[in-house]
C-alpha cells in the first residue's frame, strides 16, 4: 500500500516511542529478576546452603562388631562368623530372570524364596542391592565368583553374623540374638540408632540380653554424599565403630557340656557353683535347643515344636523352674531351730511313722517310722516326723527368714532373662495372697519343703553353697568384661554359728556316707572326693486318705506328669567344700535314686576336671557308669591347662 511521507515519518516515531516503552518495560523486568536473584543468592544464601547440605549429606551407621563370649577357660561360646551372601543390583542386570535362573544352577535356591526375592528386586530402587541368598558356604561363594561373567549384577558380600559354635548346651546361660523386634525400642527404652540398621540383631535372652549394652558396642558413622535418588556417591568422613566388650563367663564349658549331656533325656535343671566365689560353673536346663536357629529367620513349625514340647525346652528350669524343694529344705529348718536354741544335737525325737495334729495325720515317708533320732540322724534318714516336731517349735516366720538368708525365696541378681524369686512363705503372705490365716499344718508341710514353699535349682545351689562355705555367696555368671574383673567383693560370712553349720554338714555327710543314709548309693570311693548332700522327693499331687489306705501307688504306675519331682543338693569335697550343686529332675520320682547320681557325677566332674575315672565309683556301679559315659555325646573341647603343675596326661 502506498503511503505518504508524513505517514512514514509517523510510523517511524510510533515504533521508536513504543520501542522505548517496551525497552523500559523489559529493563524493569530484568531489574526485578536481578533483585529476586539477589534476594535468593545473597540475603537467603546461608539458609539455602544449609538445605543443600542437608540434601547432600547423609550419615550412615556402621554396625559395631558384637562382643565375644567365652567360658572361664577361654572357649568361645558366642562368636561372629563371616556370613557369605550374594546380592543383586537390578540396574546392572539386563534380564533379571535369566540371571536368577543361571544362579539357581550354581547355588541351591529354594523356589519359593526365589520368587520372593524376585518380587523384592523388582520393588526396590534399581541401585539398591537385594540379598538373594544368605549363609552360603565358601564353596558356593567361590562358584558364584568363578561364574561372575555370566552373572551380571550379582555381588558376593561379607558380613558378620552371630554364631554359637557349641550349639544347644549353652543357650540357657548365653542366650541368643535375634532381629530387633518391632516394639524393642519402646519396650527397652533404648534410643540407640544402631537398632535401625537393617539386619541388626540384639540379645533377647540370658547373658546376650542381660549384658546387651556391653556386648553391643557403639556404632560408627560414615558421612556420605548421596545423590537425589539416594545412591551413595562418595564417603566424606568416617568414625569407626567401637566393638562390643568381650565377656568371660564363670561357666566351665566342659562341665556345662557334661551337665547337659548328663541331664539328657530328662526334663531337668541343674546348677554347679564354686563354694569359694559364688561363680556358677554350670547352669543347665534339659532339654535344650539350638540358639543358632533363632539367629536366622525361624519357621513357625520349628518354633511351635519347641513351644508345645511337654518337656518345655524353651524354659530355663535352673533359674525359672520353681519346685517344692522337698526334704532339701530340712537344713533350713534345722539351722533355724539351732539358732533359736530349740534343739541340741543330742536331743532325740521319736518317729512312729506319723504325727497327729488335731484329727489330721502327717505321715513320715517311711510308713513304719524311724524310731528315736537325733538331728543328724534325722537329716541322714530324712525323717519327716522329726522335722514336723521341730517346725512346730520354730514356727514359719523363723523358718522362712532362715530360708531367705540362705538364698531361697529371694530373687538373685543374674544377667539371665528369667530368674524366679521362689517363695519362702510367711503368715502375712498367706493372708495377702490366699486370704486365709496361716495354719499349723502349713508349717508342718513347709518343714518338709512341701505346701507353699517353692525354690529353683539356682536357689537350692546357693543354699547349699552357703551352708558348705558359711559365707553369703552371691551367684555370678560373668567373670570379666573386656578383661576387667566383674566380680568385686569376696562374699561376707553368713551370720550363722559355725557349730550349727557343722551339725548340718555332718548330717548331710551322713546322707551319703553313713550306711543308713538315704543316698548311700551314690557314695564315692575316694576320700579325696567324698561329698555331702541331701535328697528331696516332692509330691506334685495330694495323697488322699483313701489312697493311703489303699496303699500308696508307686510312681512307676503313674503318668509322667503326676510323678514326684526328684531333687538333690550336694557339695564336695566334704573336708573342704569346693563345689556345690543342685539337681532337679521333673517327675523323676526319687531324689536319691534319680537326682542323687546326677549330682554325684556333676560334682565329680567338677572336682576331677574331666570325665571322672571309674575307680571313684563303687565297683558294683562301674560298668553302668562306664556305659553311660560311653553313650554321652560330649564335645571335643580342648581341656583347660591345669592350674598348678598337675599331670596333663591323665
Amino acid at each position: 500500500m502506498k503511503r505518504s511521507q508524513k505517514e512514514t515519518e509517523e510510523e517511524a516515531t510510533q515504533v521508536t516511542r513504543r520501542g522505548l516503552i517496551l525497552g523500559g518495560l523489559m529493563g524493569t523486568t530484568a531489574g526485578v529478576l536481578a533483585l529476586r536473584m539477589r534476594y535468593l543468592q545473597v540475603e537467603r544464601a546461608s539458609d539455602f546452603r544449609m538445605l543443600a547440605e542437608d540434601n547432600r549429606i547423609s550419615d550412615r551407621l556402621i554396625p559395631p562388631d558384637r562382643g565375644l563370649i567365652f567360658d572361664r577357660h577361654g572357649t568361645l561360646l558366642a562368636g561372629n562368623e563371616q556370613n557369605y551372601r550374594i546380592t543383586m543390583i537390578r540396574e546392572d542386570v539386563d534380564d533379571v530372570d535369566a540371571v536368577l535362573h543361571r544362579l539357581s544352577q550354581i547355588v541351591l535356591l529354594d523356589p519359593a524364596r526365589l520368587a520372593r526375592v524376585r518380587d523384592e528386586i523388582m520393588n526396590t530402587p534399581a541401585f539398591v542391592p537385594v540379598t538373594i541368598a544368605d549363609r552360603l558356604s565358601w564353596e558356593e561363594l567361590s562358584a558364584v565368583a568363578v561364574n561372575a561373567p555370566a552373572l551380571p549384577g550379582i555381588t558376593p558380600e561379607f558380613g558378620l553374623s552371630r554364631v554359637y559354635p557349641l550349639g544347644p548346651d549353652f543357650v540357657h546361660v548365653v542366650g541368643y540374638v535375634r532381629d530387633v523386634p518391632d516394639s524393642y525400642a519402646e519396650r527397652s527404652g533404648d534410643p540407640d540408632p544402631v537398632l535401625r540398621i537393617p539386619d541388626f540383631q540384639v540379645g533377647l535372652l540370658n547373658v546376650e540380653e542381660g549384658l546387651e549394652q556391653a556386648l553391643r558396642g557403639r556404632a560408627g558413622i560414615k558421612r556420605v554424599e548421596v545423590n537425589a535418588r539416594g545412591r551413595v556417591m562418595r564417603e566424606l568422613d568416617r568414625t569407626e565403630p567401637t566393638p562390643g566388650s568381650d565377656l568371660q563367663l564363670t561357666i566351665d564349658a566342659g562341665l556345662q557340656n557334661y551337665t547337659e549331656a548328663r541331664l539328657n533325656g530328662e526334663s531337668a535343671g541343674a546348677v554347679v557353683m564354686d563354694c569359694r566365689s559364688g561363680e556358677i560353673l554350670a547352669l543347665a536346663s534339659a532339654p535344650s535347643f539350638d540358639p543358632n536357629i533363632f539367629v536366622r529367620p525361624l519357621s513357625a513349625a520349628t518354633y511351635n515344636g519347641l513351644l508345645n514340647d511337654p518337656y518345655r525346652p524353651l524354659a530355663n528350669k535352673a533359674t525359672q523352674g520353681l519346685y517344692p524343694p522337698g526334704s532339701t529344705y530340712k537344713m533350713i529348718v534345722a539351722l533355724a531351730a539351732l539358732e533359736q536354741g530349740l534343739v541340741t544335737p543330742d536331743e532325740t525325737v521319736y518317729c512312729g511313722g506319723y504325727t497327729e495334729l488335731g484329727n489330721r495325720r502327717f505321715h513320715c515317708w517311711r510308713r513304719g517310722g524311724h524310731g528315736r533320732l537325733s538331728l543328724e540322724q534325722a537329716l541322714e534318714q530324712s525323717c519327716d516326723v522329726y522335722f514336723y516336731d521341730l517346725a512346730q517349735r520354730v514356727g514359719i516366720e523363723a523358718m522362712s527368714a532362715m530360708a531367705r538368708r540362705l538364698g531361697c525365696g529371694v530373687q538373685h541378681d543374674l544377667p539371665l532373662s528369667s530368674v524366679a524369686a521362689g517363695l519362702a512363705p510367711t503368715m502375712a503372705w498367706k493372708r495377702a495372697n490366699r486370704g486365709a490365716d496361716w495354719l499349723i499344718g502349713d508349717t508342718l508341710n513347709a518343714s518338709i519343703g512341701q505346701g507353699f514353699v517353692l525354690a529353683s535349682p539356682l536357689q537350692l545351689a546357693v543354699m547349699t553353697a552357703r551352708i558348705a562355705s558359711g559365707r553369703a555367696l552371691v551367684p555370678q555368671v560373668v567373670k570379666t568384661v573386656d578383661g576387667i574383673d566383674h566380680i568385686t567383693d569376696a562374699a561376707p560370712p553368713l551370720d550363722i554359728a559355725r557349730e550349727h553349720l557343722d551339725i548340718v554338714r555332718s548330717g548331710m555327710n551322713r546322707v551319703i556316707n553313713a550306711a543308713r543314709g538315704t543316698a548311700h548309693g551314690i557314695r564315692v570311693e575316694s576320700e579325696e572326693y567324698r561329698m555331702a548332700g541331701k535328697s528331696g522327693t516332692s509330691q506334685v499331687r495330694n495323697i488322699t486318705a483313701a489312697e493311703r489306705a489303699a496303699g500308696v501307688t508307686s510312681n512307676e504306675d503313674l503318668p509322667w506328669e503326676r510323678r514326684d519331682h526328684a531333687l538333690f543338693v550336694a557339695f564336695g569335697p566334704v573336708a573342704s567344700p569346693r563345689y556345690a550343686c543342685s539337681v532337679v529332675v521333673e517327675h523323676g520320682s526319687g531324689g536319691s535314686s534319680v537326682a542323687g547320681p546326677i549330682a554325684r557325677d556333676l560334682l565329680l566332674r567338677a572336682q576331677v576336671g574331666d570325665v571322672p575315672p571309674l575307680t571313684l565309683y563303687p565297683s558294683s556301679q562301674r560298668q553302668r557308669i562306664d556305659e553311660m559315659h560311653e553313650n554321652m555325646n560330649l564335645l571335643p573341647l580342648a581341656r583347660p591347662a591345669p592350674s598348678s603343675g598337675g599331670s596333663s596326661q591323665a
Binding site: 500500500m1 503511503r3 517496551l22 523489559m26 530484568a30 536473584m37 543468592q41 547440605e53 547432600r56
Partner: protein, 379 residues
C-alpha cells in the same frame, strides 16, 4: 520507506557486508552460548557427552545460518515472511498428526540429526509475518477492528496448534511476542487494555472451571499453578522441582560454589538441569555474580537489537528486530522467573544456554534477521 527506496550506494555489497555486521552482537551471542557449553559440561559431570558436543554442532550450524540470513538483504526476508509462516504452520499441523512424543507432549519432527520443534519455528515466522503485515498496512488503518482481527488470527492459529501439543510455555511466548509486535506497530491502547481485562477475566474463569465438567486446562497445569502458588505444599511431589531449584540457586550465594562443585546439580537434586532448569546450575556454581552476568549479557543483546531497530528507518526491519528482541526477552525472562519461583513452571528453555537444537537454531537464525536489518539499513 520501502525497500525500493534504498539506494544501493548506501547499502554494502559483497564481502563488504562483513564490515557492516553488528559484531558486538555476534560476540555477545557467542559468549552466552559459551557460558551454556560450560554449564552443560558441568551438568554432564565433566564430560563433552552427551550434551556439549551436539549443542556445539548446532551452535555452529546456527551461526552459519545466521551469517547466511544476515548476508541476504532484509527486503528478501520481508517478501518470504508469508511463505515462512505457512511452512511453519504446515509443520505444526504435521506434528499434530505424526509428531514424536517427548515428555508427554507431541512436539518434534525427528530429522535424525536434529529433533525439529515447529513451535519454535512458528514463534519467529510469526514475528516476521506480523512485521511484514504492519509494514504493508498504512498506519491510519492499523487500529481499525478488521485490521486488528487479521494479526490476532495470525497469532492464534499457531498458538492453538502449539497448545494442542500441549506446550503451554511456547504458546504463551508466541502470544506475548505477537502482542508485542502489535503494540510496537502502534495499535491503539484500548485494544491492549481490553485484552488484559479479558485475560484477567479468563484466568478467573479458568479457576472457576476447576473440577467442573467444562474444565478449561489440564489437571497437570492446574497442579503447576497450585505448586507455583505454594511450592512447599508438595516438596516431594511436583513442587520438588521448584523447591530444589530454589535451594540450588540460593546455595550458590554471591560467588557460587565453584565450577562443577554445585552439589544440588551434580547430585541430580535439580531436575532437567540440562534443559529448562539449567539456570539453577549456572547460578549454583557461579553464584549471583554468574547469574547477574548472564542477565547483563542478555540485556546487552536486547539493547543491540533495539539499537538496530531504532537506527533503521525501514519499518519491517525495525519491527522484526524489535520482535526478535522481545521474543528473546520473553524466553529468558519467563525461564528465570520460573526457576526463581516468580512464575509457574511452564517449560521454557533458557535461550542459547539450555540444551536443545530447535531453539538454538531458530534464535540464531532470528539474530541473522537482525544482522541483515543492521547491514542493509538505509544510510
Amino acid at each position: 520507506m520501502s525497500f525500493l527506496e534504498y539506494t544501493l550506494k548506501t547499502t554494502p555489497t559483497g564481502l563488504r557486508k562483513f564490515l557492516y555486521f553488528n559484531w558486538p552482537l555476534v560476540v555477545l551471542v557467542t559468549t552466552v552460548a559459551a557460558f551454556g557449553f560450560m554449564v552443560l559440561y558441568s551438568v554432564a559431570g565433566g564430560s563433552m557427552r552427551p550434551w556439549v558436543e551436539p549443542q556445539l554442532q548446532r551452535f555452529i550450524l546456527g551461526m552459519v545460518a545466521m551469517f547466511i540470513v544476515a548476508l541476504v538483504p532484509i527486503w528478501f526476508w520481508r517478501n518470504v515472511s508469508g511463505l515462512a509462516y505457512a511452512v511453519a504452520l504446515l509443520l505444526l499441523l504435521y506434528v499434530e498428526f505424526f509428531g514424536s512424543t517427548g515428555g508427554g507432549a507431541q512436539r518434534w519432527i525427528d530429522l535424525g540429526f536434529i529433533r525439529l520443534q515447529p513451535s519454535e519455528m512458528a514463534k519467529i515466522t510469526l514475528v516476521m509475518l506480523l512485521a511484514a503485515y504492519y509494514d504493508w498496512l498504512p498506519p491510519r488503518r492499523q487500529s481499525h477492528p478488521l485490521y486488528v482481527l487479521v494479526p490476532v488470527v495470525l497469532i492464534l492459529v499457531p498458538v492453538y496448534l502449539t497448545l494442542r501439543q500441549p506446550d503451554l510455555g511456547t504458546a504463551i511466548l508466541m502470544m506475548l511476542g505477537g502482542g508485542a509486535i502489535m503494540f510496537l506497530a502502534g495499535v491503539h491502547w484500548a485494544y491492549f487494555a481490553s485484552v488484559i481485562g479479558l485475560g484477567v477475566g479468563t484466568v478467573s474463569a479458568v479457576f472457576a472451571s476447576r473440577g467442573t465438567e467444562w474444565q478449561l486446562i489440564r489437571d497437570y497445569q492446574f497442579r503447576r499453578i497450585d505448586i507455583f502458588l505454594d511450592p512447599s505444599a508438595e516438596p516431594l511431589g511436583d513442587g520438588y522441582h521448584i523447591t530444589q531449584a530454589q535451594i540450588a540457586l540460593g546455595a550458590g550465594g554471591l560467588t557460587g560454589r565453584g565450577y562443577m562443585q554445585g552439589t544440588q546439580s551434580q547430585l541430580n537434586y535439580v531436575p532437567e538441569s540440562h534443559t529448562d532448569f539449567i539456570f539453577t546450575t549456572l547460578a549454583e556454581e557461579f553464584g549471583f555474580v554468574g547469574g547477574a552476568s548472564l542477565l547483563l549479557l542478555y540485556m546487552l543483546i536486547i539493547a543491540f537489537c533495539v539499537a538496530t531497530a531504532l537506527q533503521t528507518r525501514d519499518r519491517y526491519a525495525s519491527l522484526v528486530s524489535l520482535g526478535v528482541a522481545v521474543t528473546f526477552f520473553f524466553y529468558f525472562a519467563v525461564n528465570m522467573a520460573m526457576v526463581m519461583g516468580l512464575a509457574p513452571v511452564v517449560g521454557v528453555p533458557l535461550p542459547l544456554v539450555s540444551y536443545g537444537g530447535s531453539a538454538m537454531l531458530v534464535l540464531l537464525t532470528a539474530f541473522g534477521l537482525v544482522q541483515s536489518a543492521h547491514i542493509h539499513r538505509p544510510r
